[in-house]
Amino acid sequence: MNEMFQGILSWDFIASGIRVTTPILLAALGALIAESAGTPNIALEGIMLISAFIGVIVSGFTGSLWLAIIFGVIVGTLMAAILAYFALKLKTDIILAAIALNIFASGGTIFFLAMLTGDKGSSASVNSLLIPNVTIPIIDKIPILGDILSGHHSITYVAIVLIFVVQYMMYKTPLGLRIRAVGENPDAAESVGISVVKTRFIALMLSGFLASLGGLFLSMGYVSWFARDMTAGRGWIALAAQALGGLNAFGVAAGSFLFGFTEAVSYSLQIFDIPYEFTQSLPFIITIIVLGIYAWRKVKASGKLNVSNSSVGPTEK
């Protein structure tokens, strides 16, 4: 038992938790923006995967880190724009369109990987680049604080900053106000002159932008290659983290850290003969329970206010 706590409480463990959290956090912030606009983006998984792929391929074939980042972000945002175009302009069901994009990402990356490298499993033969870690000058000399605060991946720092940026944008800027207005009541927003389609388009593209950073982190930081389906459900976990945190960036960040650290704990617990399958399904079980409790409290609260309200909306969003 003592060993276990030592394993969990070590500074390495915290660093690993932060590393695992980074991609989830970025995608979850994207989920937050999309959800606020009333257009849930469940294509995050596929967007991350495509960006991870593009980052590796572009850096491997051009040797330029900046080109890789730029293309990774552009393609990820473009995927979200395609989703937005189909959902908003062509009136495709947004969930089905997102499922289509996820299928495209999963199969398409394997297809193009095989076409470009001849290998279907991973990009091992491609000499791709890494986005570097950042050492913060003075802080890294301070014993414990330095271990926790310094030496992380650049995108991790970007992600942390983005928590505040997203919160500020959503609640202090006209764009955030418009996004929330469109999400809460599109008709009312339209009546005061806000273009619902345009605002949702922007919100979805922002969510794609954030998810694509998460994807780049996966293949150019977390590991240094692309492997088939390497996102491994992180896009879905991000949606769960958003569902836990609600429409508040700090809440969403807390949800993401919960998932990230549960996963990190699950690695540590493997040493203690706790089956891998149990620890792996833990984050999902936690989400279901927490969602259940949330929903139950909501039902209770609304029951007090309005007893006659018994409608069950079919997929409201």
Binding site: I99, G107, F111, G233, W236, A240, F284, I288, V299
Partner: protein, 386 residues
């Protein structure tokens, strides 16, 4: 109404056509040789090999190409039919839930866990023909229904989005299923992680020994008729449809919508639960999935293509498995990876479900029809469809 249906058919046809065209362009680009030869010669070579690849892709499931000519491809045909079986079943399950305008992304997990638990019965229950087979399938259905009751309950009673919960439960089902196989049912003699072999008598009867054509297709078609009957001919099915069409109206007419939402999720879970084990009983004879095979996701594609009509589900499933088998055969003869099918699937789903795709054309043709019936003296244009 009639024009509407005809239009849907056009849209599906055009979507499939566009998808095949995009696929051809990708195959063409992938076929451009990297050798240093004249541009026109390169294009010619790419054109030839792309045509060759597409020949295998579009006909491979039925035709075996030899130097002497073409022959019927028995193994391809059987593979085509066999691969359609599980996705017909998940397609039915998803279409039931979609009819009630609910979401069911959980079919994948229901199918996986159902198959894993039923594997225990298939291994240990004495092999009595028919009876033990039925018992195995019913076990899988019960597990699927039980697992589907969780998101069903949470939606009906707690109003928690069934989308998120069923999604999360997919992972739980996957890890639980894998754990069951690994811990209790593993064949330790085998090199990879597979279960012990099923009882011989429990397996589905075969129509063709060599390529293992099993009777699963008839089970799937039987389920299709059953689901069609329940959804279209019974009061219960009508209630489900009413909820999907207009939940407020359904409630005003006295339908307990929470109860119906729960029931349809559980019924669909039972159907989905049987999808995996039927394939294992017919073809593999043991549990061997290390990754979730994705039949639940396929079910979503199929229900969408079939417009949630159970009778169209087998057609959509046969279409999907046809292009998949074709792609695999293409992959065997050329260097085009069969995963290209995923790209085609994505394009088809996007276009088929795009309500506004070609809507202008539709509106124009409706308008034209209307103005023509008004005046009735405009001459009929050449080639016009009335």
């Amino acid at each position: 109404m009639k024009a509407d249906k005809r239009f849907t058919l056009y849209r599906i046809g055009i979507s499939v056509g566009i998808a095949l065209l995009i696929g051809y362009i990708i195959v063409f680009i992938a076929s451009v040789p990297s050798t240093d030869i004249a541009f026109m010669k390169k294009m010619k070579e790419a054109f030839d090999s792309a045509n060759e690849a597409y020949k295998y892709f579009l006909t491979g499931a039925l035709v075996r190409w030899r130097f002497t000519g073409a022959a019927f491809n028995q193994s391809g045909f059987i593979q085509w039919i066999n691969e359609a079986v599980p996705i017909i079943i998940t397609g039915l399950a998803v279409s039931m839930v979609f009819t009630a305008k609910q979401f069911n992304i959980g079919a994948e997990g229901q199918m996986f866990l159902g198959a894993a638990v039923a594997t225990a019965v298939a291994i240990y229950f004495p092999g009595i023909p028919f009876i033990s087979t039925l018992l195995v399938i019913l076990t899988a259905m019960a597990v699927g229904a039980g697992f589907a009751s969780i998101p069903g309950f949470m939606k009906a009673k707690l109003k928690a989005s069934e989308m998120v919960t069923s999604l999360m439960l997919n992972y739980v089902a996957f890890f639980m299923g894998l754990f069951i196989i690994k811990t209790f049912l593993r064949d330790t003699e085998a090199g990879s992680l597979v279960s012990l072999e099923f009882q011989q008598q429990t397996m589905l009867p075969l129509l063709n020994e060599r390529y293992r054509w099993h009777i699963g297709i008839f089970i799937a078609l039987g389920m299709t008729v059953l689901v069609w009957f329940i959804m279209k001919k019974t009061t219960w099915g009508y209630k489900v449809k009413l909820i999907g069409d207009n939940i407020k109206f359904a409630e005003y007419s006295g339908i307990n919508s929470s109860k119906m939402v729960f029931q349809v999720q559980v019924a669909a879970g039972a159907v989905a639960g049987s999808a995996g084990i039927i394939e294992l009983l017919g073809y593999h004879g043991r549990f061997l999935w290390l990754y979730s095979p994705g039949y639940g996701w396929d079910g979503i594609i199929i229900a969408t293509l079939a417009r949630n009509n159970p009778l169209f589900v087998p057609l959509a499933a046969l279409f999907l498995s046809y292009i998949r088998v074709g792609a695999k055969i293409m992959g065997r003869y050329t260097n085009i990876a069969p995963e290209i099918v995923a790209i085609l699937q994505a394009v088809i789903i996007l276009l088929v479900t795009a309500e506004a795709f070609l809507a202008k054309w539709k509106q124009r043709s409706i308008n034209k029809e209307a103005t023509q019936s008004e005046t009735n003296d405009t001459p009929v244009q050449v080639g016009e469809v009335r």
